[in-house]
């Protein structure tokens, strides 16, 4: 899996790392048990301070996306359904995106069709979680 980091973009680098790893797992580019590079290795490759990578890994660990272990390093966690996954934060982010589409004049049918297309990209060929 490849990370593409925009060094001059508005999104902080740690956020880009976190987002792309989440996206990589969701699209099947990374699977449960896959090892991630160490903080230092990834920081050296990208050319950023190790604290930046450490912050991204810390976020992923808090979200339960990866496991951090002293012996095995960082690896992708097994997907486990959370009871409150679709919480207020999720609603807020999704509502904001829908609102932005509305203000740009996107019709409801067009939006539903587009969102379904995106959902299929992620969930299309995957087994249903337990």
């Amino acid at each position: 899996m490849r990370l593409k980091i925009d060094m001059s973009g508005n999104i902080p680098i740690y956020q880009q790392i976190r987002n792309q790893i989440v996206f990589g797992i969701a699209t099947g580019q990374m699977r449960a048990g896959d090892k991630l590079p160490t903080v230092r290795q990834l920081a050296d490759e990208i050319g950023v301070n190790p604290m930046t990578v450490s912050k991204a890994y810390g976020m992923l660990k808090d979200e339960g996306v990866i496991l951090m272990d002293r012996r095995h390093g960082a690896q992708v966690n097994r997907l486990q359904p959370k009871e409150n996954a679709l919480d207020m934060d999720f609603d807020h982010t999704a509502m904001l995106l829908i609102s932005e589409a509305y203000t740009k004049g996107v019709s409801q049918q067009e939006l539903e069709r587009h969102i379904l297309l995106l959902i299929n990209k992620i969930y299309g060929h995957k087994e249903v979680l337990p």
Partner: protein, 455 residues
Amino acid sequence: MIVTYIIILWIVFWVMTASSLYSAQYHDHQVLGVVLSKAHSQHDEIEKTLVSFTKACRLVLLLSAVCSLLLFVEPVSSHADFIMILLMMANLFVNWLVIDRYQMKLQHIKEQNNWIYPQKNIVTVDLEVARDSGKSAISPVWVWLFLLLDFLPTVILLFHTNMRQIYPIGFSLIGPLCQLSFVYLFYQMRGRHSNTVNAQFARQEERINSIAATLSALAMLVFWLLFSASMMYAQNGLAILAPVIVLLAAVFGIIRWQQSKISGLEEKFADELPEEQENAGDQQILWKWGFYYDPGDPRLFVPKRMAGMGWTINIGRPAGKLICFGITAFLVIIIGITAYGGSKDYQVSVSGPKVTVDAAMYDMTFDKSEVQSVTIRDDLPPDGTRVNGYGGQSKSYGHFSFKGYGSCMLYIYNNVDRYVVVQLKGNDPGYVILNGKTQAETDALYHNISSWSSK
């Protein structure tokens, strides 16, 4: 002596020219540190400019070699050591000027033809490449073994105490100390790869880089063993020069080998590299006065502007500033010491029961009660070796050792074949050998000291 200086100068000039010419080869989307695509680098105008650059480099080499012959001419030859350093600096500066001028020419051709490449602000990293970083390098056991072997001269000196007079044991630790920097270089190079997206490319590149670092450490070991052997057994200026030539030739050969291997890799993987690696991307302007300056870049060591020419320091980092200041201070001190040592005359003053010799860095005073005898002779004792002192073209002074005399303090003008020899009680130093700027001055000095000691 002058011949040795000229050989050293020619080696330095040759290395500078070879490095300049090497930087004109296309590598990593660059020619002379100017970003160009492969197709643009083969453009007629670029090729003509590079032919002209090659001629300019050869002209600088020729002129430098001719200038070095000035060392044979009086009064330059009496300050040969200082002039040698000046010529080295001048050659370095002129080479830099030529490169800078031709960089501007290439940049101008780029602008005229509107060859504009997007700046690389997107960094693409393959997680597999990052995860396997350093795993394809050869074992570090070799560099540690070379470090251990570097202590061989020290071990020999521990058992042969008589050799310590000509080769102090502290001096024998300089080699291992320098070798440590090669161990550090190995650990820097073993995970280093320019390609961050192709795992196979990156693995092979790491292997080449780590082999190059290990070979450099081996070259350092060979240099140090040869140098120590020549110091301990040959004690001859030309014999000491041989290891330097071996080291320079080896380092140059290793760099050539490393770069030809990496160029081969680039060609081999040319079809497999993704689009973002194929296209040349213009560098950000991060170079100040020839140094890399980027406070936002956490790296202390960064590749030089000219791809494949090694590494440089990021002076945007506090540690980089410190190292840069240290190197500059070191150079200034070396030049200062050479200039001061070469220009300052000895002052021998007799006052009361003491004689004081005032010389740059190696002053000494001896008392009348210490003096055993004062003699004058027309030649120096045989088999002299400098232990810790200054040995220039016109003067030699400091701690020396002579066969049959042991430890001596020397304060002499090399072109005057008359010497006052003061034998002291004890053997540290056992003798003080000095003279004046002329034979008449030396005679006067002898009469002055001998009448003082006999009073």
